[in-house]
Amino acid sequence: MENRTFYNAVLTEHNLHPMYKHDLEDADFTLEGVNPSCGDHITLKLKITDGVITGGAFVGDGCAISQASADMMLELVIGRTQKEAVRLSDIFLRMIKGNASEQEIEELEEASALRDISHMPARVKCAVLGWHTMKEILKEASGTADQ
């Protein structure tokens, strides 16, 4: 009777043993993301040098999906350029809506473990919390870089 859940090993591992869930001193950007309806929240911190994300971390509280997703995201984007991070988050957001190709999903590495959330409309906002927060930061960061 026990049915398969979308809580696969990759997801639960990132939730129970996150690599990036800690404070980050002298971060260049800090932004809080909240889902008011369910209370999930994260504070995302990024270090950005010459258009490259050189460091990142988050603290927060919420369901496994929101927390694991933020951890997977940081693992994916640290070391990449801002532009690349924006492109990957667009793929992620499309994957959650069920609109990404297999090839694109592969690029997301471990974050692809969340692909089944697309069948769980009630949980989509948990999965995208970190990614939306990062996109906000990157928008602000590219604004300041242009000036």
């Binding site: 026990e2 809580y7 090993a9 591992e13 939730n15 369910c38 209370g39 496994a64």
Partner: protein
Amino acid sequence: MADKAADKSMKENRWLLENPYRKDFPIFRSWEGAYLDSAATAQRPACVIQAEQTFYERHNANPLRGFYDLSLEATDCYEKARRAVQEFLHAAHPEEIIFTRNTTESLNLVAYSYGLHNLHAGDEIVVSILEHHSNLLPWQMVSARTGAALRFLECGPDGTVTDEQLSEAITERTKLVAVAQVSNVLGSLMPIEKIVKLAHEQGAAVILDAAQSAPHLPISVQELNVDFLAFSGHKLMGPMGIGVLYGRRELLEKMPPFLTGGEMIASVSRREAVFAPLPQKFEAGTVNAAGAAGLQAAIEYLQDIGFEEIQRREEKLTEYVLRGMEEIPHIHVLGSKKAKEHCGIITFTVDGVHSHDVSSILDTDHVAVRAGHHCAQPLMEYLGVPAAVRASLYLYNTAEDADRFLQSVSTVRRRMGYGE
């Protein structure tokens, strides 16, 4: 769970497996899960669905408006439903029953029509910390607009209230006390008799939120001696979109209308209107007559079975679930240890697993429960649990539902990556 113990309790609860009421609920013919979210909304028996349909098929016209036979018939159906509610609540007069959309609207009616006109700076409104947001936000509004202070009746972690807590909250400044008879999180019962006595000694009105009690307990507004009472049809197996406000006649008569427009006037000139007598004064616009007919059918269905039988079943099943949960490590049930003090509501947390994840896992096993703050954030804050899972039972639930729930809950931590 140890097999022997499970076997024994299964035998004891054999009669729970043979649930004679479940077949009355058409939803269980197509949906095969364990429905454990009746505190959010109940399922409806065929007779309720049929009553709504019959109204539309045979009696439909705008009640109270036409002078032709069909409209009179529609009016008749609607007023019969009012008398069924009157009898259900043991109210003295049919015009003390006002139909609304739900508990929330009933409570807002009292807040806007009674609260705003009877409270002043220096007065105090007392609500308990257990309240559903529906019985908190209207009073926050009254407090903000009138300058009356909002004061909280505190309770213990199991929802019990001591005499000291009562006399501390209800004082000579109290003008209004609004409390839920049964908490939608803990399932605990408020000592309404004591509250009414204290409040009335101070000349304060008592508003009872019966959203979670009306489906499970017999209620007599005259015995309880409350001034207002609100409940929703959909939680006691009636249709969605029909609710009730009971109000003491002397109070309702003095209150101004909440909404104005059609149906609630005696005469209107260009500049003013004379309002209709009770209950029409509070039922502006076309009413939900089919919903009222459905509610009457639900009340009759409940009365045929009887609260004694409903409570006996719920209590047995709650006991079975509570005992099963005690054997699962890392589970914490909020509220009382006694099944009797839960009104079918079992709210719990699982160590290290967020309530939304618990409910998602249960969902994959076709167990429907509610997760989150349950619209009672002040209570959750006081209990120190920002979110929890709530399983709530009603008369159609079986031991099979309970077993499916227990089985699923016992696997949650493992499926979330914790070792045993």
